[in-house]
Amino acid sequence: MVTELHNVDLKTDEMIINMGPQHPATHGVLRLILTLDGEKVKHVEPILGHLHRAQEWQGQNRTWFQYQALIDRVDYLSGMFTSWAMARACEQLDGVVVPERAEYLRVMVSEMNRITSHLLWLGTYLIDLGAMFGFPFYPFREREKLLDLLEEIAGQRMMFNYIRIGGVQRNPKPEWFDKLKRFTEEFPDRIDEYEAIVTQNPIFLKRTKGVGILKRSVAQDYGVTGPCIRCSGIPLDLRRTKPYSVFPELKFDVITMDKEGDTWDRYMARILEMRESNKIIRQCIDKLPEGEIMGKKQMAGMRIKAGEGFAAVESPRGILGCYVTSTGGEKAFRFRWRNPSFCNLSVLSELLVDTPIADIMAIFGSIDVILPDVDR
């Protein structure tokens, strides 16, 4: 009988499994339709739109002043960058000159925001990998300190509405800079702490080394940006390649991995980026000039000159762009967002093919996707 069984051609079917949208590790509501051959993923189809809030439609139906309060919600972990992208696009059109002090404050708060975003990613990524031992509280400790500082100047923990068209909303008090300086002094030691726990942890290495390798050609084909493409060996960082604001005057390194990036490289790149951001904040505190902080009068009936333009900033997830068409009225004619999460997520169907199902979350988490940013 046994020999007969060996001769039988066992029929193995591919299995279609639905994953999400309510899944603890998808950072929101992403639904994946997986085609599995045993444990191996053969095909992935992401289904988006569960968080679609018609942000572009609202841009056409709100005044400029109303809309700039709304767009922090596009990417709730890095609200400063969405505000900044919109502000830059509108300033380009309108020919507004932003005061230098405002530019330094913008760089300062956005780099703080970049650190908070990477810290939250670090904490949740370790949970995604199964590290349920309380590691997330380490990065969240520092994140809370930064959010307190941001709350002090903006009035809100995460939906700041601090960067406005023409400048920034208000001047921080002198004590605020002292607090921030103290934070930047102790922060590198804290990063050392995280690294001591995570970087050479054998379980972490086993889960991340050689997993989810993003080839350079694939990344370019899919328009991937941010830390993901820098880990694949392309030094694309808008702060350096198309410097905006006061970045030409600041010294910092662009973190580029000189090989085909795997999941561990993307972790390391974000750790190193936090160190660079910390340096940038310290330089900004030292160089901050006195002066005005607003170059355009803020009022409900604000108008932007007619024309069209595209402006982008380097957000924690990649190139965050904003394409605005104005007719000179109180509302925009057309708003279009280029969201880094949307573009980076599209490469997922390429990355997941032929990986075990257990690696899905390790790979998906390492791209650092924010679902409200995908769905808008």
Binding site: G49, Q220, L236, G307, Y323, R338, R376
Partner: protein, 179 residues
């Protein structure tokens, strides 16, 4: 959906072709130059010329516009525009390409058609799906042209100027609503 004024009018005299318009002309693709959008060259090409033009711009070693930033659909006053923002991974080159389909050329009940580029440029895949979903431009030859942000059975294209919102069962005044 209301808007205050008309979009910027085209200048009376045709503009001289810029750097990229000249490059395309040398390779036998004609284009028309528009007013620069915030200092970035903006050109219009015919729908049929779009895939060869993008292939040329992406692959040539001198131009190398190999980063597709977005594909945007715009419901303009007289035209449906499909707008392509091209950047480069290595240089600081930028270009905006538009394909404009006149509204009078689109038959009733049909969608404007533009050739898809997602067969040779994967970055365009989701952007084209989104533009189809929200603005209603049909990208011919797209491998999987389905709605991406709205549910698959959604009616209409929400970013069209003539789009009517579905009846809101909770908040509107009609007698059949739930209130």
């Amino acid at each position: 959906m209301t808007h205050d004024a008309k979009p910027p009018a085209a200048p009376a005299a045709p503009l001289e072709p810029g750097q990229y318009g000249q490059f395309l002309k040398e390779h036998g693709i004609s284009s028309e130059r528009l007013v620069d959008s915030c200092g970035v060259e903006t050109i219009v090409v015919a729908a049929a010329d779009l895939p060869p033009a993008l292939k040329l711009l992406r692959n040539s070693s001198e131009v190398k516009l190999d980063l597709l930033i977005t594909v945007t659909g715009v419901d303009n006053n007289d035209t449906y525009d499909s707008v392509y923002h091209l950047w480069s991974y290595e240089h600081i080159n930028e270009l905006v390409i538009k394909v404009m389909t006149k509204k009078t050329d689109v038959a009733d009940g049909r969608l404007p058609e533009v050739p898809s580029i997602s067969n040779f440029w994967s970055a365009a895949n989701w952007h084209e799906r989104e533009t189809y979903d929200l603005v209603g431009i049909r990208y011919t030859g797209h491998p999987y042209l389905r709605r991406i942000l709205n549910p698959w059975d959604w009616d209409g294209h929400p970013l069209r100027r003539d789009y009517k919102q579905p009846v809101d069962g909770l908040n509107d005044k009609n007698p059949h609503s739930m209130r």
